[in-house]
Symmetry: C2
Subunit: 230 residues, 2 copies
Amino acid sequence: MSTTQGARARARIEVTAAIKDEARRQLAAEGAAKLSLRAVARELGMVSSALYRYFPSRDDLLTALIIDAYDSVGESAETAHAKVADASPLRRWTSVCEAVRGWALAHPHEYALIYGSPVPGYVAPETTVPSAARVALILIGVVQDAHQAGALTEPPLPAGLRPEADRMIADFAGGLPPGSAVALVAAIAETFGLVSFELFGQFRRVVEDREPFFRHAVRRLALGVGLADV
Amino acid sequence: MSTTQGARARARIEVTAAIKDEARRQLAAEGAAKLSLRAVARELGMVSSALYRYFPSRDDLLTALIIDAYDSVGESAETAHAKVADASPLRRWTSVCEAVRGWALAHPHEYALIYGSPVPGYVAPETTVPSAARVALILIGVVQDAHQAGALTEPPLPAGLRPEADRMIADFAGGLPPGSAVALVAAIAETFGLVSFELFGQFRRVVEDREPFFRHAVRRLALGVGLADV
DNA sequence: CCAATGCAAGAGCGGTGCTCTCTTTTTTGT
DNA sequence: ACAAAAAAGAGAGCACCGCTCTTGCATTGG
């Protein structure tokens, strides 16, 4: 059925992919703001209105690219993590963070698309959530493993944040001590702060030797979450 | 001279201010991407081409808004800091960070303009640097004060980062121990990571009770820089 | 007073996202 | 097998955008 579902269905898949590829090319070259449906259509030898048969609006095309970008960085992180799966939690954590930074430097416009300013009236549809969570899920898993191996020190947690921590644990950080759950979420946001500052030019004339600086900062964040120093 | 410099010069200043005000209004309402020279001109009752007598391009108008935004958040931070000038360094640090977050929540589009994705081919001109540095300078000052008061513990620093740290100290962190200088810069970027994640929607369904979460995270970052826990 | 300058206005260029209509092609149901 | 229905492409057109150029008018400084 699905194999020989007619030339039309197959063509649709191919054209959709071609549109996304060309759009991704333009995104990587010029950034999201300069991505133009007309230019994509032009490059593909079709007329601009034909493109609306595949993506109902520019925003929908952008959403597709956003999901792809999340998956791309997520896959980079997963690959990097797999390569050090047997190492210490600390080592696994830093490897994942460095993979994220490496991906960001290699795909700056895609990084800006997903971790920079959201486009004007745009709210990410629910479909992006699973892809968006991939990097975080790896880091959560690392901390969970460390906890089960007895290699996790729980950071202090003010009493007022206890309900929030319990909710986090129930929602996505099962098994972790409350203080670790909160520290973990904060450390993830803080790590992306380091990447964003570097990528968005805030480190100009401030941090020059950026790779070792990032390694050091990420390592300290991981220690702050309570990962054992090995 | 400057007082009675003719009606023309005065009019120019007023019109320039009116343009910036209306542009800021549109920026706050719809975001940078939807800021349109034509709409600004329309609202001011002039024709769009007339606007080019005041700002040579849309990017130049945006640059003016960027500088204003940096000054605005810088002033918020400075005001907040002045209110607790006699408190402990830790308290001063967290007050400044909370002021930044408060300003960001009140001016999301302006925050996105300066700390989000840079606009496409745009590189911030040197004129933005002094305004951009204001928040960081306050935090650096806090740590310097703590150091001079003997209330600063130097975080560890790998030998490889020592040259970088010395450069930072020479450039903008005079008097600080090397480990503190590096930790300080990282903590600033990490703090903005927390703000950006919240503002850009990355905390949806992840952090609900955001104000106390931020307070806690920022406090832990400050302790990580070595500020004494008082 | 008069020439030089500053400024507003208007027309216009090439670009954008998006809609609508029309034609052709493929799929589907009887 | 054939007609009806659905899908796809093409083209024209709308309203907007940033930006440029020319044309008149007002202000200014020598």
